[in-house]
């Protein structure tokens, strides 16, 4: 169990403000934020390596004020893994037990167990410099777990791995989560990792926690436009509700968008339209499809991807559309600068925030 209460830290001109979060025993908590959001600093504060300006860290109901890092029962794994380069993998793993003066036979047994658990028994005598990124990561996590910490702090553990190794390491972490009762706080900028691993996610933007919830809550129902943009929802707009003919709509730019549910007049709501729900059609002056909205736009940019084309449109509001590749030919991809008609169904409009 670990709790942060109204924690504030200043690093140069940057500030983390009023950070409050709570992770229960065995919970996998992912702190999601863009690079440079002060996530590493926050972990160092939790570890006691850096002092907070205000606020409190509580681990297992014990206030950590004035408690040294070595007595906090935490372990920290940095993004670069920070293995001790002059010690072998096995000696790295043994380090924590050695400085705690555990008996030799106990250390040997535990190191062997951990090496086996992480599938790296054959690497025990190797030096970190000769290990691959994925291997180093396993050694680092095994080293962190060797002293049975109650909280494991992970700093972007997958950021420096290539994608194939990364997938494998995410599996290692999933196993870890299932088999051990350690509370894990991981900082990350990757939505993918948050989805694959987190029990709960907190979004850290501009030095503050903007939303805390399960991955589904964060990614499906972001609480604000800022969070919606950060979690990658396209076509985010905010507007004031007006009710007409029993139907709620908002006006964004000069565009009236029908909402899929009713809201009281005057409410400010944030909506998003998933890019793959926006169709791009040739301009059609008398286009009228019931339950749909059509906007005439100019194609500003077309970015080909592996599975799709991403089309950015300029109209009364800027829109982004994703056009799936269907195979050879790919239907019609509009060229840059052409006039097109962007169409979306009113039922595809997602409402993220606003009082219902």
């Amino acid at each position: 169990m670990i709790a942060l209460d109204d924690l504030s830290v200043t690093i140069g001109s940057f500030r983390l403000n009023g950070i409050t979060l709570h992770a229960g025993d065995g919970e996998y908590f992912v702190l999601l934020g863009p690079s440079g959001a002060g996530k590493t600093v926050l972990l160092e504060v939790i570890a006691g390596l850096r002092a907070a300006d205000t606020g409190r860290v509580t681990i297992n109901a014990r206030d950590m004020a004035g408690v040294k890092p070595e007595h906090r029962g935490i372990a920290l794994v940095y993004q670069d893994y920070s293995l001790f380069p002059h010690l072998t993998a096995a000696e790295n793993i043994a380090y924590g037990m050695q400085v705690r003066s555990r008996p030799d036979h106990e250390i040997r047994k535990r190191v062997d167990e951990l090496l086996a658990d992480f599938g790296i028994s054959h690497l025990g005598q190797r030096y970190p410099g000769s290990l691959s990124g994925g291997e180093q990561q396993r050694v680092a996590i095994a080293r962190a777990l060797a002293t049975n910490p109650s909280v494991l702090l992970l700093d972007e553990p997958f950021a420096s791995l290539d994608p194939r190794v990364c997938d494998e390491c995410i599996r290692v972490m999933q196993d870890l989560k299932d088999t051990r009762s350690v509370t894990i706080i991981q900082v990350s900028h990757s939505h993918e990792e948050a989805y694959s691993l987190a029990d709960r996610v907190a979004v850290l933007l501009g030095g503050r926690i903007k939303q805390t919830g399960t991955p589904d809550e964060i990614f499906r129902t972001p609480a604000s436009e800022e969070v919606a943009r950060f979690v990658g929802i396209d076509n985010v707009m905010t507007g004031v509700v007006t009710n007409m003919a029993g139907c709620s709509r908002i006006t964004a730019g000069s565009l009236a968008i029908k909402l899929p549910a009713s809201f009281p007049e005057g409410t400010v709501v944030t909506i998003g339209i998933p890019a793959d729900c926006i169709r791009v059609l040739p301009v059609h002056p008398e286009f009228d499809e019931p339950g749909s909205t059509a906007i005439t736009c100019e194609v500003r940019r077309v970015t080909p991807g592996r599975d799709c084309f991403r089309i950015e449109l300029d109209g009364v509001v800027p829109l982004t559309s994703i056009l799936g590749r269907q195979g050879p030919g790919d239907g019609i991809v509009p060229a840059r600068g052409t006039q097109v008609c962007a169409v979306f169904r009113d039922t595809d409009v997602r409402v993220f925030s606003g009082d219902r």
């Binding site: 006691g48 935490i74 920290l76 794994v77 940095y78 920070s82 080293r143 060797a146 002293t147």
Partner: protein, 271 residues
């Protein structure tokens, strides 16, 4: 295209060699003017080498150099560590103070050491009370050597410790090590190389010191003092023989150091 490029860069490198090589020639030429006449008169060389005053001077020089380096290691390593880890303006002020002996003429440094450690000096008085005298004594030589070689040791070790990531210490802390244990088990072993090379640099500086040493201790004579003394009184031939002996010893120590430092200690670029 490739060929022209290659030959152009070769021409460029060659002209650099032509200019820069003059320094190498200068050193070799200087060594030759010392070595050749000495090797031509081996009997004279042997008689000088067995002269008690020469042997004494060599022993005094190397013993004092050794003690000076020991003192530097004990006092200078902690200083290098705090300077390496600190980032405040305060720290850079201290670094400037540490480097001061580099900028001073050695006679000035010698005078400072003398004023400080002479029998009536601010440090000379308390040391005198516990029976240690610096003027014209072995401790005086050591004091002068420590003073002039401090920046060499502290700077080299500091540079080395800066290269040991602080994160390694942080990880050690979270694994249960106290600050001291983290320093002893992580930072220190990773700094063995800079400590050895710093010690060697400082030692070289110390055993070569002349001006600062004679200000406080003309006697017992160190090798530099003896060479100067013979040069002014006995003549060129005798001082040259002592210089040759010193050259050989320093060369042997230098080569031994190169050999040892290649094998000893963890290197940052080892994979």
């Amino acid at each position: 295209m490739k060929d022209t490029d290659g030959s152009r860069s070769n021409q460029f490198l060659f002209s650099l060699w032509l200019v820069g090589g003059l320094l190498v020639v200068l050193i070799l030429l200087a060594a030759a003017t010392l070595v050749i006449p000495e090797l031509a008169h081996p009997t004279h060389l042997v008689s000088v080498a067995l002269d008690t005053s020469v042997v004494n001077a060599i022993v005094v020089t190397f013993a004092a150099g050794f003690v000076a380096v020991m003192i530097l290691m004990v006092l200078g390593t902690p200083l290098a560590y705090v300077l390496a880890r600190g980032r405040s303006r305060w720290h850079s002020a201290i670094e400037t103070i540490v480097d001061l002996p580099l900028a001073l003429p050695h006679t000035v440094a010698g005078l400072m050491v003398y004023l400080l450690f002479m029998i009536r000096g601010p440090l000379g008085v308390p040391f005198h009370q516990i029976g240690i005298v610096f003027e014209d004594a072995f401790p005086g030589i050591v004091a002068a050597m420590v003073f002039v070689s401090t920046p060499y040791y502290v700077d080299a070790v500091r540079e080395g410790i800066v290269k040991v990531p602080e994160r390694l210490e942080n990880v050690a802390r979270t694994l249960g090590a106290s600050q001291y244990t983290a320093f002893r088990t992580i930072t220190l072993p990773l700094s063995v190389r800079p400590i050895i090379s710093g010690a060697f640099l400082a030692w070289g500086r110390a055993v070569g010191e002349f001006a600062a040493v004679i200000m406080i201790a003309y006697f017992p004579m160190v090798v530099s003092t003896l060479i100067y003394n013979r040069f002014t009184t006995g003549g060129l031939e005798e001082s040259r023989s002592i210089a040759f002996i010193m050259l050989v010893i320093c060369l042997v120590v230098f080569l031994a150091f190169r050999l040892v430092s290649r094998r000893w200690g963890w290197s940052h670029d080892r994979t």
